[in-house]
Structures are given as structure tokens and as C-alpha cells.
């Protein structure tokens, strides 16, 4: 895909202050996203992938130690905006989010219609009738019947609630939606249906997606690009097709091997050991202790290396040309 990226994240850092010390949730993350592209960020729980989403959308708690880097979105560095400008012009206006456990994110005492129209009313200042009209339009895209506008969350099934949340995320017609584990609590058929909805949105509304998940098999339903996150850092970025057939980073490979498959004969494997604590990270490559191909060089932090169209943070590929960021 040619042209300018929609989103470009450069050296994004998000560290939290806790009583036990500094939690390095996001540590110098670089990646970019083209218009109408979907990037999947995969990693184990506690690797910092949800914090990355929150750092991009600036949904931050109070205990921030460091929050720095550049986030270019639609040609400007949104890190330079004040909180008020960010809220008014970026969050939900141009960039929205489907949170984790979305099924429980609806307000139980508000009607679905009031909740879905709320961001539209606030951001565009149109009349209530106008907003209802828009809500009906987005309900059409996600496949929720119009009369659900007057219902409460408990009257909806899990799949319908999830669709309503997606409707809320697209009602302002943003350019980018961040999906944080959007289907992990849903059944297989419902999950597949939701992915059909997301694919249709991507096709018809030309929305871009960042999908955050630990489920590689399901994420392949949407992915154009895959970024693997490990212990607060991105260790590999690649085109989806190429990633699913030959991942390069030893961690990515192990992760791919651990996916149980319905078709084919491959026996799944697992990764020995546990990811390091974000409180106390090893110096050098963070995957070192669990890595089967470890060697002396791994005591130093590897750079991002360009190899076969992938960007990979691993010394194994050091003979290739170095690159600065993706």
C-alpha cells in the first residue's frame, strides 16, 4: 500500500509508578498503520498490549511515571495536543475504542439508543432526532435491529451487546478503531459473526483497525499486518500472510507453534517459562531466558533489523541491513 500512513507511533513510552517500582508497560514502541489497514498486536497477558492502546488513545490512570514519544495521526503529532484538545478533536471524533470485556461496558440503567448516540451528540452538537437517524444508520452496518434503540443492555444477548458497542465506536465515523480483545468472551459462532461485521466495516467505511489480542487464529480474520509484543516492546512487525507462514523472531515462532489447529497435522508446542515481570526487566534481549537460539550477543539489546520484509528485533538477523523504525 502506497501513500502516507494514517498513524505513526515513534518511540512511545509509558511507564507506571507503583509502590514496588517502575512498571515499563510500553517501552519505545514503533509501528505505523496505513489508511484502511488492520494491524494486529499479539502478545501474552501482561506484555503491555492494552497499555499501548491506552497510551495511543490517552486513556491514562494517575500513576504515570513517563509518557513520551511521538504519535502522528492524520498528519499531526497528537502527543503535542492538550488534554482538552485531544478530547475534543481526537478521542472518539477521529479515533475510538472497543474496550476489553465490552459486553459489560454498557451502562445498565441507560437505554441502548441513548448510549450509542451520546458520543455523536457531544462531538457534533446535532439535534437528538439527527443523532437517532445516525444511530439507525450505524445499527444497519453492524446488524442490530432498529427497535433495540429503546432496550436496556440486559435485554440483549452477548453478541448483540458487542455489536451495539461497535456501533457506538463508529457513530462519529472515525478513521481508526482500537479493538481490545473484542471477542474473547464470546462463542465461536458469535465471534465469527462479529468478525464478519468488522470486515464489512473495513470494506465499506474504509476504517482502519488496531486489534489487540492473544488469540492469533481468530486475529487472522482481520489482519493485514501483525506486530508481536513481548515484555513492553514490539519484537516483530510483518505483513500478515508472510507472518503466518514464516515468522522470524524466535518468540513469534514459538507463539505460532503454540496455536492449536483444527486442520493439518502439526502438533502444537508451548513456550517454556514465563515472561519477565515488567517491574524488573532483564538487560539485553528480553526473551533471552526462554529463547532456544540464545547466544552471547543476546546480553545486549538487539536493534530492529529488516529481514525478508519483516522488521525483527533479534540478533540472529544482524547480518542484514539495520533499520531505524517501522
Amino acid at each position: 500500500m502506497a501513500g502516507k500512513p494514517l498513524l505513526k507511533v515513534e518511540d512511545l513510552v509509558l511507564h507506571f509508578k507503583t509502590t514496588k517500582g517502575k512498571v515499563q508497560a510500553v517501552d519505545k514502541v514503533n509501528f505505523s498503520l496505513m489508511p484502511n489497514e488492520a494491524v494486529v498486536i499479539v502478545g501474552e497477558s501482561g506484555c503491555g498490549k492494552s497499555s499501548l492502546a491506552k497510551a495511543i488513545l490517552r486513556l491514562l490512570p494517575n500513576n504515570i511515571e513517563t509518557y513520551s514519544g511521538k504519535v502522528f495521526f492524520e498528519d499531526r503529532d497528537i502527543m503535542l495536543l492538550s488534554d482538552e484538545e485531544f478530547r475534543k478533536n481526537v478521542r472518539w471524533q477521529r479515533m475510538s475504542m472497543v474496550p476489553q470485556a465490552a459486553m459489560n461496558s454498557l451502562n445498565p440503567v441507560m437505554r441502548i439508543g441513548d448510549q450509542v448516540t451520546e458520543p455523536y451528540l457531544i462531538h457534533t452538537g446535532v439535534s437528538k432526532t439527527e443523532a437517532i437517524k445516525q444511530a439507525k444508520k450505524v445499527f444497519g452496518y453492524v446488524g442490530v435491529p432498529e427497535d433495540f434503540l429503546n432496550r436496556y443492555a440486559f435485554e440483549l444477548s452477548g453478541g448483540m451487546r458487542q455489536r451495539a458497542i461497535i456501533a457506538m465506536a463508529i457513530i462519529t465515523m472515525p478513521g481508526l478503531i482500537i479493538l481490545d480483545e473484542p471477542t474473547s468472551a464470546l462463542d465461536v459462532l458469535t465471534q465469527a459473526n462479529i468478525f464478519n461485521v468488522l470486515k464489512t466495516l473495513k470494506r465499506e467505511l474504509e476504517i482502519s483497525f488496531i486489534l489487540i489480542t492473544h488469540d492469533i487464529a481468530t486475529s487472522s480474520e482481520l489482519a493485514d499486518k501483525v506486530a508481536v509484543m513481548y515484555a513492553g516492546q514490539i519484537v516483530e512487525v510483518s505483513d500478515a500472510t508472510s507472518f503466518f507462514t514464516h515468522a522470524l523472531h524466535p518468540y513469534s515462532r514459538k507463539l505460532m507453534d503454540s496455536v492449536p489447529r483444527l486442520r493439518g497435522d502439526k502438533e502444537p508446542d508451548f513456550i517454556i517459562g514465563q515472561p519477565p515481570s515488567l517491574l524488573n526487566l532483564p538487560i539485553g534481549c528480553r526473551f533471552r531466558d526462554r529463547c532456544p537460539s540464545r547466544f552471547e550477543k543476546c546480553d545486549q539489546e538487539p536493534p530492529m533489523i529488516q529481514q525478508d520484509g519483516h522488521l525483527v528485533k533479534c540478533w540472529l538477523y544482524q547480518n542484514s541491513k539495520e533499520s531505524h523504525h517501522g
Binding site: 488492520a38 501474552e44 497477558s45 444477548s157 452477548g158 453478541g159 448483540m160 462463542d187 465461536v188 459462532l189 458469535t190 465471534q191 465469527a192 459473526n193 468478525f195 464478519n196 470486515k199 464489512t200 492473544h214 488469540d215 492469533i216 487464529a217 481468530t218 486475529s219 487472522s220 480474520e221 482481520l222 489482519a223 493485514d224 505483513d239 500478515a240 500472510t241 508472510s242 507472518f243 503466518f244 507462514t245 514459538k254 507463539l255 505460532m256 503454540s258 496455536v259 492449536p260 489447529r261 483444527l262 486442520r263 493439518g264 497435522d265 502438533e267 502444537p268 508446542d269 508451548f270 513456550i271 514465563q274
Partner: protein, 344 residues
């Protein structure tokens, strides 16, 4: 499906039928009564309706279905936690549904249960040692030394090393995978006749799921244990069991060997489940899947005839919506409750 699928099958299970039937479920029905203001019959939730199957000694079976299909109600009834509305549960020839409370207590010490959420399944204020001692205390193993010896041996079997480091810890100090190992150890401490594993890996991180399943499978083979594995994830089934039952809206709609079911599914619902399950592949993002419309029915008032008919794309009007399909056997050891296979 383009690729043929191979599944696990060991010597024990090939001859499972010769090992004799351990558990036999006959026409089981579990309905929950709905009352208004505590009295007055309003209706019933038809959680399990007419389920029959046999489990042989040393055999691993899987029950697959979506949430709300009644698979957990079925298992809890087998464990003696719910009383069946109708039907029989025979374990070694004894009917669980007719047991008195004291007999039920004795029966429960012979069955193991692995819960879905390992953290929720352990008392947060007890140490691992205490958690594992509890079932032995309750079931009258009085000798302290023997209890210690047994729990140590069990922890080694579930590969929690070094054992001494874990004994004084509390559940919250362990990772999800370690917690689930402790729950597995606890379920096997009393040497049960069979184990029910209710979605044992769905709460765990993708990277440790396979590890836990392999561990469970290894223990099952080694101890020649019968296991019922309940899941909604078809992709893990073939690493674990030989036979599989597909459950929809309180009924078993297809029963087959895992291999046959994955390679040659009969029931339209099973086919849809297989379509919905993805393998990582760059091509997936380019196609929109053809899936059945709607959602599973409300079990208070399930559809007449075949319960899948309102969503089925291959419905035979005038038959599927009126008459309940019986089980047909289009192939040996492959049964399906669907009118499409009537002639065969």
C-alpha cells in the same frame, strides 16, 4: 476439508469398548422450574433434554457446545450437584439419580472436577498445601504423613517444581497455568473413577493452553482415567479425546470419533461450528464467512421439531419444524440427529 486430520488415539482407547462401561447416561432430562414470586409454576428451562451416552473405563470424551447449550448443567448433574428431572445416570451400575444424600457424598469423592476458572476454584485465604489437604481431610485420610506424601507425589505429577516452594504459597501468588495445575492435582488426589474438566484452559493465555492440555492428557493415559472434557473450542479437542459429542440447545446433535467429525461432519450445526473456527492464515481476512443467522434459542420455550431449524440453511419445511429428529447412524460409530440423513 482439504487436509485430513489425525487425532490422538492410544492402545487403551482403541479397545475402550472392551474395558466396560463406567458411566451410562440414559435419556437424561434436567429442567429448572421457573416460579413467580417464589411460587406458582411459570415454565421450565429445558437445560438438558433427552441426552444419552456411554463413557468407558479409561476413555477421554469431549462435549462441544456454545454457552447456554446446557453442557455445564449436564456435567453438574453427572457430578451429583443437580438432580435430574428424568432419566438415569448409572456409574458402575449404580443410579446416581436415586442416591440418598449420604451416598451422594460418598459418590462425589469418586469423581473429580476441574473448574474453568482456577483462581475462583481455590479459597484465596488457604495455602496450596491446605487446599490440597482439604479433600483428603474431608474424606477421612487421618494419617498426616500419608496426606503429605500423597500431595507431594501429586504435585510432582502435575510438574510443579520445586514442590517445597509452592506449598506455603497462596493462589494469587501463582500464574494462571500454575493455578490450573494445582486444580488438576486436587481433582486427582482421591484417585477418582472419572474426571469432568469444564473448559479447563479457556481462561488461560493461549501460550500455556496446549501445555496444560498435554499435561492433562498425559495424566489421563498414565492413570488410565476416564475424562469428560467440556469445551467450546473445537481446535483443542483433537489433542485430547477420541470421541466427541456436539451439543445444541440441551441436546446432543452429533456423536462421532473426533477424526470422523472433523473430516466429515454431518449435522449442519457442526458444519457451521467448523466454518467459524479459524486457523491462522493470511487468506482469512479476505473472505466473509457464510454463517447461520440468529442466535441459540431460549431454552424456556425451545423451538418445536429440530431445535436448530430456525437457523438451519438446509431446513426441510414441514418436517424439521414439526418433528423431533431421531438419531440416525449414516456411518458406524457416527450418529447424527438430523432429518437429512433419514434415507441412509
Amino acid at each position: 476439508m482439504a487436509e485430513m486430520v489425525n487425532t490422538v488415539e492410544n492402545e487403551n482407547e482403541k479397545d475402550a469398548t472392551k474395558n466396560g462401561i463406567l458411566l451410562s447416561i440414559k435419556n437424561l432430562r434436567v429442567w429448572f422450574e421457573l416460579k413467580r414470586f417464589g411460587f406458582g409454576h411459570v415454565g421450565d428451562v429445558h437445560a438438558v433434554d433427552g441426552v444419552s451416552f456411554d463413557l468407558h473405563n479409561g476413555e477421554a470424551i469431549a462435549v462441544v457446545g456454545e454457552s447456554g447449550c446446557g453442557k455445564s448443567s449436564l456435567m453438574k448433574t453427572i457430578l451429583g450437584l443437580y438432580r435430574p428431572t428424568r432419566g438415569n445416570i448409572l456409574v458402575d451400575g449404580e443410579d446416581v439419580s436415586k442416591m440418598k444424600p449420604a451416598e451422594l457424598k460418598e459418590y462425589r469423592s469418586h469423581v473429580g472436577y476441574i473448574q474453568q476458572d482456577p483462581y475462583g476454584a481455590m479459597a484465596p485465604f488457604m495455602t496450596i498445601e491446605r487446599i490440597l489437604e482439604e479433600p483428603m481431610l474431608i474424606n477421612g485420610i487421618k494419617d498426616k504423613e500419608q496426606r503429605k506424601k500423597r500431595l507431594r507425589r501429586m504435585l510432582e505429577e502435575v510438574k510443579v517444581f520445586p514442590v517445597d516452594d509452592f506449598l506455603p504459597k497462596y493462589p494469587h501468588m501463582l500464574s494462571g497455568g500454575q493455578q490450573q495445575r494445582i486444580v488438576i492435582a486436587r481433582s486427582m488426589l482421591l484417585e477418582p473413577k472419572f474426571i469432568v474438566a469444564d473448559e479447563p484452559v479457556s481462561m488461560l493465555d493461549a501460550s500455556v493452553r496446549v501445555e496444560i492440555l498435554k499435561l492433562l492428557r498425559g495424566l489421563q493415559e498414565k492413570r488410565h482415567l476416564a475424562v469428560i472434557y467440556i469445551t467450546h473450542d473445537l481446535s483443542t479437542v483433537r489433542y485430547f479425546s477420541r470421541r466427541i459429542f456436539v451439543m445444541y440447545a440441551g441436546q446432543l446433535v452429533e456423536k462421532a470419533k473426533v477424526k470422523n467429525l472433523l473430516n466429515n461432519p454431518y449435522h449442519p450445526y457442526t458444519k457451521d461450528l467448523l466454518t467459524a473456527t479459524s486457523d491462522p492464515d493470511g487468506k482469512n481476512a479476505k473472505v466473509i464467512k457464510e454463517l447461520p443467522p440468529g442466535e441459540p434459542p431460549n431454552l424456556i420455550n425451545p423451538p418445536t421439531g429440530c431445535r436448530f431449524h430456525p437457523r438451519c440453511l438446509r431446513i426441510i419445511k414441514g418436517l424439521c419444524d414439526i418433528q423431533v429428529p431421531p438419531e440416525f447412524e449414516p456411518e458406524s460409530e457416527h450418529r447424527v440427529a438430523c432429518w437429512l440423513y433419514k434415507s441412509k
